[in-house]
């Protein structure tokens, strides 16, 4: 597994955990009748903040763990990690980003549809963040599939 694949796998795990946390908090809100603008926007902030922080920490962790594994494997104290992106990595990343944007766009459209069914704006905002995280997960899965297939 290349460095890029490890990084994507970690991102995938992180975003699945973030989605789990988001859904868990949402169910808690419904059960305790606290589905209010204040609590939903707080959850928005926490989810976006978590996504940014976890992505940065994840990338740093992948570097450290890759270096440790490579050092153990080769016995070299200063191991070389193939962390650069070549043309194939960039193409796979572009395809993944395109899929992420497509899912995200469909999500925005579906979120807007809630107005048609007379739902409050809060539902739209909740669905927006939900589809944002789902889009990232689908994009990461598609990148991993492309790596497994070769391209």
């Amino acid at each position: 597994m290349s460095f890029q694949q490890k990084n994507i796998t970690l991102s995938l795990v992180n975003f699945i955990l973030i989605l789990g946390f988001f859904l868990f908090r949402l169910i808690q809100m419904f059960n305790s009748d606290s589905f209010t603008p204040a609590s939903v926007f707080r959850l928005w902030g926490i989810t976006i903040g978590l996504a940014i922080v976890v992505t940065i920490i994840g990338t740093i962790l992948t570097h450290i763990v890759s270096a440790i594994i490579e050092a153990i494997r080769t016995g070299n104290e200063d191991p070389k990690i193939e962390d650069f992106e070549d043309e194939r990595d960039q193409l796979i990343d572009l395809k993944g980003t395109r899929i992420t944007y497509t899912v995200s766009s469909i999500g925005v459209f579906l979120s807007m549809l809630t107005f048609v069914f007379d739902q409050p704006p809060l539902v739209m905002f909740t669905l927006l963040i939900f589809f944002g995280v789902v889009a990232q997960i689908v994009g990461d899965i598609s990148r991993l599939v492309l790596y497994r297939r070769g391209f």
Partner: protein
Amino acid sequence: MGKSRISNNIRKLRFNHSEMTQQQLAERVGVTRQTIIAMEQEKYSPSLELAFRIALVFGVPLEEVFSYDAGAVKANEA
């Protein structure tokens, strides 16, 4: 995604060049080893620039490294 219409002799050329490893070739052309593996399995067609760099490493013309299956294209068009 299946095999591409572009086939190559990279594996054969590596062995003819003092059994060059995939890692050595990857370092000389500036890509990752995974990209060399994908090319050898004909799952990935390189850019024109990378194709020229590979041909330069082996010191052979481009046509000796890569070949294009025009028959498959005609069969698809028919």
